[in-house]
């Protein structure tokens, strides 16, 4: 009777996510100047990628599903890119 046990990948992802949470909180208190924001967003992106790949099962999916899943990110990229371009380049 082992069919109720969670796969190791899920347990690993869960523990990894909690470890990354602890890491990002700890690093937030280390003075890195502008680096703090980069670190916070980078760790957030890694956490999101773990959730997408393992909890949302994208690692088992083929091209079409990945295109559908990536479409949202693509449009988000356009939104942030065009939306922020003026503000970050204005002198």
């Amino acid at each position: 009777m082992t069919q109720w046990r969670p796969p190791l990948a899920l347990v690993g992802a869960w523990l990894g996510l909690l470890a990354l949470l602890a890491l990002t909180v700890a690093l937030a208190y280390v003075p890195l100047g502008a680096g703090n924001a980069v670190v916070a967003m980078s760790i957030g992106t890694v956490k999101a990628a773990l959730v997408a790949a393992i909890f949302m099962e994208l690692r088992h999916r083929n091209g079409l599903t990945l295109v559908f899943a990536g479409a949202g990110l693509f449009w988000l990229g356009i939104l942030l890119w065009l939306g922020l371009m003026d503000f970050v380049t204005r002198t």
Binding site: Q3, W4, L18, V25, A52, M56, T65, F68, G72, G83
Partner: protein
């Protein structure tokens, strides 16, 4: 799994039906990404304009509750992914409890969020209702808290919808679960994980800035 009406006439097979459901969920999630994306764009614009005020505003948030809530949500997502993975007639009881457990963690998240809102209200940090803060950063900090309240409230509404979905699925699939239940659970799980991802970024944008300076 016993199955009377297997799939509607537009599908050629059960996997075809399930694949369509999954693609449909991803299209829905894309629209949700853009909903939260607009908020996050606004956040970056105003953070760029008021960097010190956003760091100051962030220091007024409760990082302990924020961190506990992140852990609660990640754990809840783990339980849902676990339930999807082991879903079968033989494990129906365990799946039900996993989903109930995930929904309870979701409710714990909402409760902690409520405590946090209450604390912020008592600290006079709610723009438009009761906001008192010494100048010169007050305007920027107000903008931070406007973003904070709108983003977390919209996120909390998503959580409440997710909790209802999980509880409904826990109830309807506790006896004789079918592949249709599995597909429904899979779609709900994608939604729940997405709400988790949104929180991962809200946590980084709301709670973490400005901590090193304090």
């Amino acid at each position: 799994m016993p199955e009377p009406p297997v799939f509607a006439s537009q599908y050629v097979s059960i996997p075809h039906r399930d694949h369509s459901a999954e693609l449909g969920m991803w299209v829905f999630i894309a629209t949700e990404i853009l909903l939260f994306g607009g908020l996050i764009l606004a956040y970056f614009v105003y953070r760029h304009a008021f960097p010190q005020a956003f760091a100051e505003g962030s220091q007024h948030t409760d990082i302990l509750i924020g961190t506990i809530n992140t852990a609660v949500l990640l754990t809840s997502s783990f339980l849902v992914a676990w339930a999807v993975e082991i879903f079968s007639a033989a494990t129906a009881k365990i799946v039900t409890w996993l989903l109930v457990g995930a929904a309870c963690l979701g409710l714990a998240f909402i409760a902690l969020k409520g405590i946090e809102y209450r604390k912020e209200y008592h600290e006079h940090l709610i723009p438009g209702i009761d906001f008192q803060l010494a100048r010169p950063l007050a305007n920027g900090v107000q903008l931070f808290f406007v973003f904070y309240l709108i983003a977390t409230a919209i996120h909390a509404v998503h959580m409440l919808i997710g909790i209802c979905l999980l509880l409904t699925l826990a109830i309807i699939s506790r006896r004789a679960p079918t592949t249709r239940h599995h597909t429904a659970l899979h779609s709900a799980a994608l939604y729940w994980h997405f709400v988790d991802v949104v929180w991962i970024f809200l946590f980084a944008l709301i709670y973490l800035p400005g901590r090193a300076a304090s």
